[in-house]
């Protein structure tokens, strides 16, 4: 792949030209008349689906054309919107007004006075993170630009005419977008993370700008002035929203030539690839260099369907929208080929993948879930890479731990990961052909896949084998585990592939019908392979309600259901357990409730607490009426909420951060966040916790996703009592939820990516790890009794796993479409039951007349499964069964606060039975609820 080499630096400018430029600069102010600029731009769609601004007959670029004006000038800009999306226009640094959004084909006129010197972003409001941004540089009328500090400390003033070159560098997401402006004013796009070239002692002016979440800009070994001050800095904060910062420097002064790195200094952004090089060439001697720049990957470059000799760039928009969590910016043009998924891209080796968190309200990571074996090879390896022969559970010699033995590798190397969840984006160059899947560690069903296809081979290259984040290496792409994961990807990312239990047509999954190259160089049709292995057009039986009613109501977070009155997805579906009908839908359009994930209630069951997992809010809802009480900020990506049974205080895990928010009962403000790790230690990012209050000890037990352990915390003191590694210490075991015995004697943790359940004693010691895929052969997919427990079971990708209030059963919801029932007496699998696609949530409620139901939700189906783990109440769980299934789609009698518009009943995640019959909480129930329970249910722990 040849790089776009820019023209060599012209060391000798003609005197005439210099004079003319100088004259122009001098004349303008002397005329004492500000100029008026009439500028015409159009917003265009680029080959990768991003947008760029076009001026005149030059191609559309990111950043948009740099506009140079003088202070005091009047600027009139006309923008034609040739994209398919509405976009506004604004220049926040110079004007308080925002132009109303123009629809496709519409035109915007925007005028302002260039009152302040410096570089100011102009933004296509609403689509700026997709590429509609550029710089307006307002220069002083006296022709002077920013001073610089020379190597000897002397402060030098500079005229614009003395500049050798200027750079515009936009910091957007976690990517730099650059333009070079030559001495004569020629603008050359440098695209992403470019090498900025200069010759030693060149006078170079940098315009650093930003749009979206903030950054700090750092350039190695150079210093400059903070504008408007005498302060010398080498790092500059670019504030959230948008910002601009201009400085001038003498290349290499005091430090000499070199590849001087520039980068954002936010640590997660560094890990996300946000860096480039300022290459200062020697100006004399044998190493004398031309000072040319090298452009980076470009939206016009080589990607599937767009041939080019330049490295290309595909862009995933990170979104709160169901299934489109990683949406290719050009999804609308390619999703018909991909079988409905908008999250699959294809590029040749050497092109790059760009991520931009443009349509989400919270933090994420861009993390490798799997990658082609060998893509993680260090380029200049210090340590010999150890490979074991093929994928099985025990190979944990490497994985997604940061770096490991990869310190010397290019940032393109796998695994791609960030230590903390953050706002921004990411960029990664992929060179090894094969399949790459990215996820978010906070929201681990957000998937984006990239096939790096060597054009010289037949079929799209899935590669010989893949490595997984959990340490499995060299797993053949032909293996059952590999294709099963692919199937999950195609279901999760395409709503047309979800199970609709209201429809009479069979469940059909559409896969891309494309030839793929797999293990041994075999070429097969991807769709044919997946259909041959997993079937298709599977008949779905309509929901049949359980024969015995439940007590009260079942509140289900139908997290993906869309309503007309808001842009964000998600409703609460309230099922009446006496009739098994959806009695109410709560969408809360007035707060644009965003991805409601998990719930709990207060002591008297009058208020439901609801987390918004793709946001930073906890919502309090009137249980009786479904009305909003209060929407409060708690922390990023709040996952689970639970009360303290002793005092009704509210505890919330901030899945996007490093602690739990504590809200005293009766208040609506977070009083404190309890850190879930010691100061300075890696952030834990806890998810589905459990609370135990026993005498004087109040315990929070959290599954710490980012650090692969279970934490035990004293809520009263904030003390960290224990951190127990889970998943046989596999990297990225991903413990995601906790279940607790009624007497707090044991805790259960589901390890999502390790397909296991950790059993942990109250003192934090690990009692046992239950391997849920012991009977499964990842190569051929056979499920036979390999662990000699008398049955063949598999629980792939376990999520929630509550313990029944009587302490007998653990019900594990597995995303791999099964429910596993574990007997707490033996901590062995007692039973496997079928589940729907994206099986996720589980919680217990009271069965009328005694016993319990486990309510199990599934993300990619629209029904609720009701499990009876012990139908005859004899303690033997071998007769555990599905008691019934309940539709989550509203009917004519369902009360709603907003009109259901699409994805009806989908997204089942958190589930809560009211009354709350878990031990400790059941004791505090008001009489109206207690009266509906049997004596045994009222005193669950005695069983």
């Amino acid at each position: 792949m040849s790089n776009n080499i820019l023209g060599f630096k012209q060391k000798v400018a003609t005197t005439a030209m210099t004079f003319a430029l100088l004259a122009a600069l001098v004349l303008a102010p002397s005329m004492a008349r500000a100029a008026t600029h009439d500028i015409n731009l159009s917003a265009e769609v680029l080959p990768n689906g991003q947008f760029g601004y076009k001026r005149g007959d030059r191609p559309a670029v990111i950043p948009g054309p740099t506009l140079f004006v003088k202070q005091g000038d009047t600027v009139n800009i006309t923008v034609i919107n040739n994209t398919g999306k509405p976009a506004g226009f604004k220049v926040p640094g110079l004007s308080n007004t925002s132009a109303a959004k123009a629809g496709p084909g519409g035109t915007i006129s925007y005028s302002f006075n260039a009152s302040k010197t410096g570089a100011h972003p102009y933004l296509g409001d609403g689509q700026e993170l997709l590429g509609l941004f550029g710089a307006i540089v307002v220069d002083s009328v006296d022709g002077k630009v920013e001073r610089y500090v020379d190597g000897d400390g002397a402060i030098k003033s500079v005229k614009a005419s003395e500049l050798d070159k200027q750079y515009v560098l936009f910091m957007v997401g976690s990517t730099f977008w650059g333009t070079e402006i030559s001495k004569t004013g020629t603008q050359t796009p440098l695209w992403t993370n470019p090498v900025l070239g200069a010759v030693e002692e060149d006078i170079v002016r940098f315009h650093i700008l930003s749009a979206g979440p903030g950054h700090t800009f750092h350039l190695h070994a150079h210093r400059w002035f903070e504008p408007g001050t005498n302060s010398i800095i080498d790092v500059k904060l670019m504030a959230d929203g948008s910002d601009g910062h201009t400085f001038t420097l003498k290349a290499g002064t005091g430090v000499g030539p070199g590849h001087w790195q520039y980068h954002c200094h936010l640590f997660s952004h560094m890990e996300a690839g946000m860096h480039g090089s300022f290459r200062v060439d020697a100006n004399k001697g044998s190493k004398k260099g031309p000072g040319n720049s090298v452009a980076g990957a470009s939206p016009h470059g080589a990607i599937f369907g767009n041939a080019s000799d330049d490295p290309g760039l595909v862009t995933f928009v990170i979104s709160d929208e169901p299934a489109s969590w990683y949406r290719s910016a050009r999804a609308d043009t390619i999703f018909k080929i991909t079988g409905g998924t908008r999250s699959l891209e294809v590029i040749p080796p050497g092109s790059s993948v760009n991520f931009i968190m443009a349509e989400t309200n919270t933090v994420h990571t861009m993390t490798s879930l799997l990658w082609p074996s060998g893509a993680d090879d260090p380029i200049n390896g210090h340590h010999a890479k150890q490979h074991s022969n093929h994928g099985n559970h025990g190979n944990h010699d490497k994985g997604r731990g940061r770096g490991r033995d990869k310190a010397k590798s290019e940032h393109a190397s796998m695994p791609f990961d960030q230590s903390r969840a953050y706002k921004g984006g990411g960029i990664v160059k992929l060179t090894t052909p094969g399949l790459y899947v990215f996820t978010c560690k906070v929201h681990p069903y957000m998937f984006g896949a990239v096939i790096v296809d060597d054009p010289a081979t037949d079929g799209l290259d899935l590669g010989e084998s893949i490595d997984l984040a959990t340490g499995i290496v060299n797993l053949p792409t032909s293996s059952d585990l590999a294709t099963r994961l692919l199937r999950i990807f195609f279901i999760a990312t395409a709503p047309n592939n979800w199970q609709d239990f209201t429809s009479t047509t069979p469940w059909k999954v559409t896969y891309p019908s494309v030839p793929v190259r797999i293990t041994g160089g075999a070429v097969a049709n991807l769709s044919d392979v997946l259909i041959a292995r997993y079937g298709n057009d599977i008949a779905l039986t309509p929901p049949i309600a359980p024969a015995i009613p439940g007590v009260g109501e079942v509140w289900v977070d139908t997290q993906f259901e869309k309503t007309a009155g808001k842009t964000k997805p998600g409703t609460i579906t309230v099922v009446d357990a006496s009739t098994w009908k959806p009695a109410r839908k709560i969408a809360l359009p007035q707060i644009n409730m965003n991805n409601p994930h998990n719930m709990w209630t207060n002591r008297d069951q009058s208020v439901v607490y609801q987390t918004q997992w793709f946001d930073n809010k906890l919502t309090m809802i009137n249980k009786k009426t479904g009305a909003l009480i209060k929407n409060i900020q708690v922390g990023e990506a709040p996952a689970h909420v639970m009360t303290r049974p002793d005092n009704d205080d509210i505890t919330v895990t901030n899945n996007g951060e490093d602690g739990m928010s504590m809200i005293p009962a009766g208040t609506t403000e977070v009083a404190r966040m309890m850190p879930t790790q010691k100061a300075g230690q890696p952030a834990t990012n806890p998810h589905g916790h459990w609370i135990s209050v026993d005498g004087n000890q109040a315990l929070a037990v959290t599954p710490n996703i980012f650090t692969s352990d279970v934490g035990f915390y004293d809520i009263n003191s904030g003390g960290i009592l224990e951190r127990t590694p889970t998943g046989d210490s596999a990297p990225g075991a991903h413990p995601i939820a906790i279940g607790m015995m009624p007497d707090a004697s044991k805790f259960y943790a589901a390890n999502l990516l390790h397909h296991s359940v950790s059993v942990i004693n109250k003192d934090g010691t690990l009692k046992k790890t239950i391997n849920l895929i012991a009977d499964y052969n990842p190569i051929d997919g056979t499920i036979v009794d390999r662990d000699s427990d008398g049955q063949a079971t598999v629980g792939m990708l376990p999520i929630q796993l509550p313990v029944s209030p009587d302490g007998r059963a653990v019900v594990v919801a597995n995303m791999g479409q099964s429910i596993i029932v574990i007997d707490t007496a033996t901590d062995k699998v007692a039973k496997m039951l079928p589940c729907d696609a994206g099986c996720h949530g589980a919680n217990f409620g009271a069965k009328k007349g005694g016993g319990y139901y486990a309510y199990v939700t599934s993300k990619f189906s629209n029904e609720l499964i009701v499990v009876d783990a012990d139908p005859n109440n004899d303690g033997d769980l071998s007769d555990a069964m599905i008691a019934g299934r309940v539709s989550l789609v509203s009917d004519g009698n369902t009360q709603t606060d907003d009109r259901i518009s699409s994805l009806a009943g989908y997204g089942g995640q958190g589930v809560l039975a009211i009354p709350n019959v878990y031990n400790s909480w059941v004791k505090n129930l008001p009489g109206e609820w207690k009266d509906q329970l049997t004596p045994a249910q009222q005193n669950a722990s005695r069983n």
């Binding site: 750092h218 430090v255 590849h259 190493k287 790790q677």
Partner: protein, 339 residues
């Protein structure tokens, strides 16, 4: 060759009290194989050897693990013009690491060693901000600087790497230094491998505020320097006594104390992923490089913010970022009546 620009044990240590001539020859040996001009750096380094005002610093630091699984720098030895000032530092590895106090015009030769026992071996480096150095002292990996992995592998048999800093005129200020090489080319500053360099101006004077007024103050009148690193979840503090120059590690969200009317210099540096908003209740101070008074300052990762105030009343310092404040990023600045 894996370590062609670092030397083996016994050939050179900062603690060898080498004289300029042997430093020169030592570096000549190191530099001869390099692609860039060695004379450039040697010239820079030797030019000032005859000047009386510029001090010559030989520093050796080592990267170590802490009890909580973090990484930290420890000062092994620091000689200034041949005088051993190592006793000013904590004998332990600290977060933040040793504060290296310099003056414009000084020269520094800093050797980093690595005592981290986590496998597989990783490099520890020192990448410094603010001062001058050539590309060989960038403290980055070859994948970044295209020349050399500029850090120290663990000390099996004495690996190290030596950096030369020119604390040139124009570099006055407080600057971070941090690892750039551990595990990836981003390094492990987030695990504790960071510290501060204070470059005092050659003029010997700093701007200070006294209530709402601005004064100019000799550095010798500063009673205490507080280095406060704002990491993602805590302030990590270091105190430097103005007279004894002794450094005291203060730990997390420390209690800061002063006597009324003491001149106290605060050195804030942020590190991590969060954007921070620093406040010191009831105080205002000079926005650096201006004559403007401020009472709040947004500080992004690796930005520095330095100000000097006259202590008047007790106050709370805090990070006003929503979740960071709730996480407990705050502490007390207690001002006592004094004598």
């Amino acid at each position: 060759m894996m370590y062609q620009h670092s030397c083996d044990a016994g050939e050179f240590f900062a603690s060898d009290h080498l004289f300029t001539s042997s430093i020169a020859s030592g570096f000549k040996r190191v530099f001869t194989r390099l692609t860039i001009s060695s004379t450039f750096f040697l010239t820079m380094f030797l030019l000032h050897s005859g000047e009386s005002i510029s001090a010559d610093h030989r520093i050796e630091m080592i990267g170590e693990q802490t009890a909580d699984g973090l990484l930290a720098y420890r000062m092994v030895e620091h000689h200034v013009n041949g005088v051993n000032i190592t006793s000013r530092y904590s004998p332990h590895a600290t977060i933040p690491g040793p504060t290296i106090v310099l003056t414009e015009g000084d020269k520094v030769r800093l050797t980093i060693r690595n005592a981290i026992t986590i496998t597989p071996d990783q490099q520890v480096s020192v990448h410094v901000h603010g001062v001058h150095y050539t590309i060989l002292s960038d403290g980055s990996l070859k994948v970044i600087n295209k020349i050399e992995d500029e850090g120290a592998y663990p000390d099996h048999g004495g690996r190290f790497y030596t950096y030369l800093w020119d604390v040139a005129p124009g570099t006055a200020g407080t600057w971070p230094y941090h690892d750039h090489n551990y595990e990836t080319h981003n390094g492990s500053e987030d695990k504790g491998l960071y510290g501060a360099v204070i470059v005092n101006p050659a003029s010997g004077m700093v701007a200070a505020s006294n209530g709402g007024s601005i004064t100019s103050l000799p550095i010798s009148h500063i009673k205490k320097d507080y280095v406060l690193y704002m990491s993602d979840d805590a302030f990590w503090g270091m105190e430097i006594d103005g007279v004894s120059k002794k450094q005291t590690w203060l730990g997390v969200n420390p209690l800061l104390t002063a006597k009324r009317d003491d001149n106290i210099r605060f050195h804030l540096i942020a590190m991590g992923t969060y954007l921070n908003r620093f406040q010191l209740g009831g105080y205002q101070w000079i926005d650096p490089g201006t004559t403007k008074m401020i009472n709040t300052k947004d500080i992004g990762p690796l930005e520095k913010h330095v100000f000097t105030i006259k202590a008047s009343d007790s106050a709370q310092y805090l990070n006003a970022n929503f979740s960071r404040k709730l996480m407990g990023m705050k502490g007390s600045f207690n001002v006592n009546a004094g004598h």
